[in-house]
Symmetry: C2
Subunit: 354 residues, 2 copies
């Protein structure tokens, strides 16, 4: 079934250190997560472009002939760096744009349609191709987020681990693939409100909060140094101890910034009861946390932590960071569960996200 | 019964902000606690000097005639600033010094005996008298602690709130009397080991920990500013909010320094569940914590927190900070419970601590 099919994937990401501090000019470390989004492209004889995003319950189709009749010249096909907002408004007007789904879903569909209509397809990726993919991905980010930093698309394109500071992104050399748990507390939060809280606290207590941000910056830099040392030397228990100490200190710092949450305290306590160290990742105030899994842990030990976390009502994934970036797959290169999930999506669908 | 009796008291103290950071040259705020140690002096016809410290189970007596026969000239009576170690060794030799109690109790007895043999008694205290009391109290500290900072005796002598930095002690002007809970987690800890841990963390991660100490320093200074503002203006809810934010930030900072403990996390969570903010005070790693009681709290609300804390196995005292320093009392000026406790200690005893 995969003969005529192009199957690609790109990794998710987490912020390892530097969330919030990055807003104030400090360094952040973003790492590619080995939890991947798969995209399956398949030719079709129905005369329709079909979009299937099973994870968020979206199934759409557009008549190719109708799309071709529309005046899409405004899209300036092939240039992923031109301004986007005006083009999106025109696209919503001319395309059969669905109104009957929630805001986030509408934006996902809009991002797909925009990129589909603009992109020329290539199958093998050199550095220039990755640059181009990254630029298009950044356009997709703009459709959905408005004012993205560029880190998320960069880490999903190149994988591994990236250092970000004031718009400047650079890759870490050969970061080690560290096992982690990614935990969703399922406590909803507003990133915007949390970022504003930190800014207000900085304004209210500048002499307290400014050195705190300096300390977080130093945590990111020290983590970068340890990760690079692990890449050049044989990773030793001291490396993991240092990574754990950095995680603990940053978690306390984020609490001091006021972006903690009782659910995150609980997450940290539950994993600490199993000797494991955790921090929030991203905006905080609920949301997601990460737990470092040392290489000496046994399978049953990891299972016990996961059970304790799911017992708290959290969602929990065992995965690794420093994952490869955007990748083309053949059927043979896929893990069985991924292959089965993709095969299970019925034929006649054009794109899928799993 | 109090006619021939001199009754004095001095307050206990807590560190409000700056513990550990003070070891590294930063500011600390120490405040007098309205939990007082009472000393009752009473003439006696038994020809003995009797010492009764009921709280730590000590009851000793020395024959005055025998003490007078001993050559105590080495004590250089009346000078509380001369070196002390050699004199203590001689005192142990010549006095009937008890060997049958634990180290801390032996030191308490030794401190009493040393001060008793040295001090001239006065009943009304001017600034110079307080200076003298403070110097003698510092000598007592030296007997028991070896290398005291001088803050503890100073705050118990002058009361109120003191700022301490690198050996320099100054009083805050009219600090407000804030209600607090003092909570003993009853988790034993070694101050020395905790201080060493912080030093090691500073050496291991200088660029992370140094700005953290700077941030703690700024918390102490901001707290001092808020307390002085509360003394000059009418205390407002914003003042208490700021004090609470400072408490939270410092508690997270102390955790980041590695001097937290699960018992202290529990203490903070339990009080936070009642909307109250807490931090460890002193060395951390267990030991004691303080909780700020806002003036808007009702009696039943305070009772509920206290019950929740005692339910965790903690000891809990409702008291206030910014208490008066060393004081002479008349029977009429004493609270009924203190008076009853002192009266309950049988006659014929010379000194008591309650």
């Amino acid at each position: 079934m995969l003969s005529d099919v192009l199957l690609v994937s790109a990794p998710g990401k987490v912020i390892l250190h530097g969330e919030h501090a990055v807003v104030h000019g400090k360094v952040a470390l973003a790492v590619a997560l080995n939890l991947r989004t798969f995209l399956q492209l398949q030719p079709h004889s129905s005369g329709k472009v079909s979009l299937n995003l099973p994870n968020i319950g979206i199934k759409r189709a557009w008549d190719v002939a109708r799309l071709q009749l529309l005046d899409m010249s405004f899209l300036e096909q092939g240039d992923p760096t031109s301004p986007i907002l005006e083009k999106l408004e025109k696209l919503k007007e001319v395309a059969d744009f669905p109104e009957d789904c929630t805001d986030h879903e509408r934006l996902a569909v809009l991002a797909f349609l925009y990129l589909y209509l603009c992109i020329c397809r290539k199958q093998r990726w050199r550095a220039e191709d990755l640059e181009l993919i990254n630029k298009w991905a950044f356009q997709g980010e703009k459709v959905i987020h408005g004012n993205p930093s560029g880190v998320d698309n960069a880490v999903s394109t190149w994988g591994g681990a990236l250092r970000y500071q004031q718009g400047k992104i650079s890759s870490l050399k050969r970061p080690p693939a560290l096992k982690i748990l990614l935990i969703n507390t399922k406590v909803p939060r507003s990133t915007k409100a949390l970022v504003l809280n930190v800014r207000n606290r900085l304004l209210k207590f500048p002499k307290i909060v400014a050195p705190l941000l300096t300390s977080i910056n130093a945590i990111s830099l020290e983590c970068e140094r340890v990760l690079e040392e692990m890449a050049t030397a044989v990773p030793a228990p001291e490396h993991y101890l240092a990574l754990e100490e950095l995680i603990d200190m940053n978690q306390h710092h984020l609490n001091a910034l006021g972006v903690g949450h009782t659910s995150l305290d609980q997450l940290c306590q539950v994993t600490m009861a199993h000797g494991l160290h955790s921090k929030l990742t991203g905006a905080g105030g609920g949301g997601c946390g990460i737990t470092l899994l040392r290489p000496d842990l046994t399978g049953p030990e990891v299972e016990a932590v996961k059970q304790a976390l799911t017992g708290c009502g959290f969602d929990c994934w065992e995965t690794s960071i420093g994952a490869p970036g955007v990748s083309v797959h053949t059927a043979a290169s896929l893990d069985a569960p991924v292959w089965q999930a993709l095969d299970g999506l019925c034929a006649g669908q054009w794109a899928s996200s799993s």
